[in-house]
Symmetry: C2
Subunit: 150 residues, 2 copies
């Protein structure tokens, strides 16, 4: 139990990060909605499935990748399944497990969402950096994320 105070810079850095993220994800959700598309969380899992071999992943692995706890993975896959964007199948090697698999329709939806998402990234994030500055930013962010690796 020490000082319990942050310097001005420390506060600026932390609050800046929080606010930047709120603004940026807000923009993403706003633009997706405006285009009649589902929320970012759907994109996130569709992308992970799309990238995965066979377009399929165990639910627990999926949860780790998109940082969702198990009951939220269950329910998100419920919704995707209901919309025909993914299917859920028994896992061949583990009797407890389930495997989510992206459908053709799911891959198409992801492709339709991408340009909208891309534009936000470009316009509200990348536009603020030149190549060197981007490198600097990556260094900083990697520093934070290194502690969470695995």
């Amino acid at each position: 139990m020490a000082n319990l105070k942050l310097t001005t810079d420390e506060t600026k850095a932390w609050m800046g990060l929080i606010k930047a993220q709120q603004h940026l994800t807000g923009k993403v959700e706003e633009k997706l909605k405006k285009n009649g598309l589902p929320p970012y969380s759907w994109y996130d899992v569709l992308l992970e499935l799309d990238k995965a071999p066979e377009g399929s992943l165990r639910l627990n692995e999926l949860g780790k990748k998109v940082l969702l706890n198990k009951y939220n993975v269950t329910r998100l896959i419920d919704r995707l399944e209901k919309e025909g964007l993914a299917s859920r199948n028994a896992c061949p090697v583990d009797g407890r497990g389930k495997v989510a698999c992206i459908t053709g329709k799911g891959r198409m939806l992801r492709q339709k969402m991408w340009p909208v998402y891309y534009n936000v990234i470009k316009e509200h994030f990348l536009s603020q950096f030149n190549a060197g500055q981007l490198g600097q930013f990556i260094e900083c962010i990697d520093r934070i994320n290194s502690q969470f690796k695995n």
Copy 2:
């Protein structure tokens, strides 16, 4: 409609930011919960009220500060009011308006939440930077946030 591709670095920067934020806010919520304390959103508005002159703010101003839309401000203040952490009063200068005011109990709760929050910031964020690196990070973050000022 242009290229629609991100370079490796661009992807690393963007995804890194998203993941960093998810990890960090996840930690904050986790630690608050573990200590039997309310979620971060409560802290956020209690802090804004605490900082404000008279400990009070119009609901719409509060909403802008904490980046919540109006119905969520209404309901968050509902909850704070129910717990005796804030009160809601008519606005003297605008018949439509309401003013939220933090109570003594509210100020005390914020003080109790702060060490928990502080520790996450210190341990999972500041610990990754020295002074120079922190300065660099602020530069980057300010670049992003400058577009959202006001």
